[in-house]
Amino acid sequence: MNETELKELIDVELISLDEPPAEKEAVIEHLLDLAVEAGRVSDREQALADLLAREEESTTGVGMGIGIPHAKTAGVAEPTLAFTRSSEGVDFGAMDDEPATLFFMILVPEASSDDHLQILSSLSRSLVHEETREKLHAAETSERVQEIIIAEVA
């Protein structure tokens, strides 16, 4: 993805720095609503069903305080990445039992190839580094978060 596509993927409207709900499914809905409010979701119900079906298969709480709910869904027309973070931490069912504090939701259209898996793996690679996680916690504006994510995913 080039920079223009990345800016479109993670528009500042899709980033929230307010404390999200304290429970996993509510966090997923909260992220989805960021995308809904940004006009990115044509079918909220379908997108939510696809996200939850993926969680059913295995949790996207991948440890180190990260949750990355994701799905390929007919509910969006464009690849969409939403972000929020928590200072309290949310139980995302991770194997390392660490509460999640950084959340990324990836939605890609049904017709796309495996774009979501590519976004997922490059995000994961960068989030393994403590420095990246700290930068995302320290960021004071949505614009700064967008900048960090673009730099890390590119």
């Binding site: 991948v62 440890g63 990355i68 991770a94 390392d96 793996s121 690679r125 393994v128």
Partner: protein, 92 residues
């Protein structure tokens, strides 16, 4: 150190359920297991016991993995991981 190159049979690759079973299995043994695509240098292998690290590999079905294990149960860990990766997803 015992190591092995194994093809990833589940079609969707090392994602979702196959990935979480892989990490769970790696954690079950008294061994430090590290993993990367075939040909990865020692220093670039990642921990097989971290879901985040394994997700970051982005391994697709049909690709080959290099798995290295160290510790008392290294051989048993490699056997279990090889068996898992050789099982089609619908039989997992």
């Amino acid at each position: 150190m015992p190591e092995r190159v194994v093809e990833v049979v589940p079609e969707e690759g090392l994602h979702a359920r196959p990935a979480s079973l892989f990490v769970e299995t790696a954690n079950e043994y008294d061994a430090e297991v590290s993993v990367g695509p075939e040909g990865t240098a020692d220093d670039d292998l990642v921990s097989a016991s971290s879901m985040l690290a394994v997700t970051g590999l982005g391994v697709a079905g049909g690709e080959k993995l290099r798995i290295v294990a160290e510790g008392a149960d290294a051989a048993a860990a490699l056997d279990a991981l090889e068996e898992l990766l050789s099982t089609p997803e619908d039989e997992l």
